[in-house]
């Protein structure tokens, strides 16, 4: 099983059209879901290790500010936002993808970032400033690759035309911004309510 399971993600990233088709219609969803969580975990790990162990020349993070929980949130929150926003939109736009499928597609699209960035964490320790342009080139390359995979994945999972996919992706980004705004609003309101209650309690306690 192991060999087979690892074969699928690697197949998807180099043959996205066939790969995503198989993923949607052929593969067992449970297995893919487990793999997706695995990929997310690897991505989080890559980011955390990257900000701690990247070479001095390319690591511009203050080690004092490193927070693994935040790094985790920086991966999970955008992915979840993306999936929710995309699912909400495509449901209205006759997309065929279910939420789980969107999630699996998104996670599989992130594989190149893990595959390229992880070795570069260690390689970046033995490069000089001139060679760091390779580092940045590969980082950008990984992002572009992932972007293309995401595009193909979304197109396949919803059975959209390319132009409709582009439109959906743009709208999804807008929807994500909306969600972020609402979340911020929600949190700031909750914070004010909590503050209000705590002030009142304090006042009552002090007067009583």
């Amino acid at each position: 099983m192991n060999r087979e399971a690892l074969h699928t993600p690697l197949y998807v990233i180099v043959h996205p059209f066939n790969g995503y088709w198989d993923l949607k219609y052929e593969c067992s969803q449970k297995k893919s879901l487990i793999l997706s969580f695995g990929i997310l975990f690897m991505l989080i790990l890559t980011n955390i290790l990257g900000s701690q162990y990247s070479g001095f020349l390319v690591n511009l993070n203050n080690p004092k500010d490193l927070n693994s929980l935040l790094e985790t949130a920086y991966v999970l929150v955008p992915v979840l936002f993306w999936c929710v926003a995309n699912w909400s939109l495509t449901t209205l736009m006759d997309g065929e993808g279910k939420f789980v499928e969107i999630f699996i597609t998104t996670c599989f699209a992130l594989i190149p970032i893990v595959l390229i960035n992880f070795p570069w964490i260690w390689v970046s320790n033995i490069i000089t400033a001139q060679e760091s342009s390779f580092y940045y080139f590969f980082k950008n390359f990984a992002v572009i690759w992932s972007g293309l995979l995401l595009f193909v994945g979304i197109m396949t999972v919803h059975q959209f035309s390319p132009s409709k996919t582009i439109g959906t992706i743009l709208l999804t980004v807008v929807a994500m911004a909306f969600m972020a705004f609402l979340a911020l609003l929600f949190f700031s309101l909750i914070q004010q309510i909590v503050e209000f209650i705590s002030t009142i309690t304090q006042e009552i306690v002090l007067r009583g």
Binding site: L45, I48, Q52, N62, L66, N67, I126, T128
Partner: protein, 486 residues
């Protein structure tokens, strides 16, 4: 290489530990720093030993010249005489090495007539001890020879560069070796006024850049001419002070919050200050808007080896930078104790001592170096001279006294690099967060390691290739056998 291997190993083995390592959250930091502090590479304030200590207070009474009233400027000559411009009393006073008054000048003969100062704001003494006083109230600059005879005067210049209603209010003055006179005049936005040795006005130089707020610019661009005239004009910020170093470069401070508050101007008025430090020289970099916002630099003083100090009037602090723009130390503050000021107005160095003039209290505080300050000054000087061996020793001493002094590690690293000790150089450059030099040292270090272990590396590579080939042949053979069996 070894260190990175170790790191790699640790990283792979203890993933869980690593992940939990980062859970610590943020450290709590106090708003006000330790009594003496410096800024780290990351912009945090870190404790530092004090480089200077206030030792003496010079007042009008102690000097024997009578109370100083609202003094605005001081100037120290190379033979350690202090010229103090006692603005409120319309005079200047010369103090000797023991801070005793040796000469007071409040009236002088000019063109055969007795004359007086009126609210003079700036004084400059050349190497030949000629004295230039910006006699602000009388709108002129008075030039004295070394025997205190008034020999010349510069009055409001006439030039087509100047507007008809131009008001000449000289407040600070500096003179270079060729006796060109640079004047900072109040209300002038075009930079410093440059006068020739004969006192003729030449031109303006070194105007500050205008900062334009995009929002304001938008409104201005869509408003009518009449509306535009009602709006605030975009004018460059005025300079707040100037000084001249021994090579004839002007150092100037201005109240520019957006641009560069410290400038070094060449003869063409171009800014050539080196800003290679962890951040631009500009006084405090961490401040809250509640406590007054950005620093207001009011005076600058250039010492030897391109070191310079600026004075922030808002918080009464003196910041000393080296020629590359690295912050060396900070001293002073507002308060009532010795070594703190009420309204600091001017700063000068006297040998290694630093003098700060307080205008309201009418006194000069003399700061003298501590062991740490002396070592740091000497280290920077040795490095400036190119004496790397001595710089190495002194910088090592500095980091022993102050492990937070990141800049000093670069000095040590450079010495190691020069000696060919690349591994040490790499480590020290990393500690000083000096990426450019780190890269240079690392390149050499990597070359060295590769050369040293060339045979091992090649053996391993060749062995791997052979093993791989053998494995492939083995697989092929097995596959063939299977086919045969079937």
């Amino acid at each position: 290489m070894v260190a990175s291997m170790k790191k790699r190993k640790a990283g792979l083995l203890a993933l869980c530990c690593l992940v939990s390592l980062g859970l610590g959250g943020e450290l709590v930091q106090a708003e006000s720093a330790a009594p003496s502090y410096n800024y780290s590479y990351w912009g945090d304030n870190v404790a530092a030993p004090s480089a200077y200590e206030a030792t003496t207070l010079i007042t009008g009474i102690s000097s024997g010249a009578g109370d100083f009233k609202n003094p605005q400027d001081i100037q120290v000559t190379s033979d350690k005489q202090i010229y103090l411009l006692d603005t409120g009393n319309n005079r200047f006073v010369v103090l000797d090495q023991n801070y005793k008054s040796v000469r007071t000048l409040d009236s002088f003969l000019l063109k055969g007539k007795a004359d007086h100062f009126n609210n003079p704001q700036g004084i400059f003494v050349t190497d030949q001890k000629e004295i230039y006083v910006a006699d602000t109230g009388n709108k002129r600059i008075v030039h004295f020879d070394s025997r205190f005879n008034a020999v010349g005067v510069i009055e409001s210049p006439k030039s087509e560069l100047l507007q008809a209603n131009f008001d000449f209010q000289p407040v600070r003055v500096a003179v270079d070796k060729a006796n060109r006179i640079y004047v900072m005049s109040a209300g002038v936005f075009d930079g410093f006024m440059e006068f020739g040795a004969d006192g003729a006005f030449k031109s303006f130089m070194g105007a500050n850049r205008v900062h334009v707020d995009p929002v304001d610019y938008f409104w201005k661009s869509i408003s009518t001419q009449a509306q535009r005239e009602q709006m605030v004009m975009y004018t460059p910020t005025e300079f707040t002070n100037l000084d001249m170093n021994d090579e004839g470069f002007l150092y100037a401070t201005n109240g520019d919050e957006y641009g560069d508050p410290i400038k070094k101007l060449n003869a063409q008025g171009a800014d050539i200050l080196r800003r290679e430090g962890y951040y631009k020289p500009s006084g405090d970099i961490m401040y809250s808007t509640l406590s007054g916002g950005a620093p207001r630099l009011v005076d600058i003083d250039v010492g030897d080896s391109e070191m310079y100090s600026v004075l922030d009037a808002k918080r009464g602090r003196v910041f000393t930078y080296n020629g590359d723009g690295y912050l060396m130390f900070i001293l002073g503050g507002l308060g009532n104790r010795l070594g703190e000021f009420n309204t600091p107005a001017a700063i000068e160095h006297n040998g290694d001592d630093i003098l700060v003039l307080d205008q309201t209290l009418g006194e000069i505080t003399v700061f003298q170096t501590t062991d740490y300050g002396r070592t740091l000054n000497d280290a920077v000087r040795s490095y400036y001279r190119g004496d790397e061996e001595q710089a190495y020793q002194l910088f090592s001493k500095v980091v022993n006294m102050n492990a937070n002094m990141e800049y000093a590690y670069a000095g040590i690293g450079k010495a190691h690099l020069r000696k060919g000790e690349y591994k040490e150089a790499v480590q020290y450059f990393k500690r000083s967060m000096d990426r450019t030099n780190y890269s240079k040292a690392f390149l050499l270090y990597r070359k060295e390691v590769l050369r040293e272990h060339f045979s091992t590396i090649m053996t391993v590579v060749i062995a791997l290739v052979i093993i791989w080939q053998i494995w492939r042949m083995y697989r092929k053979m097995r596959a063939r056998k299977k086919v045969v069996l079937h």
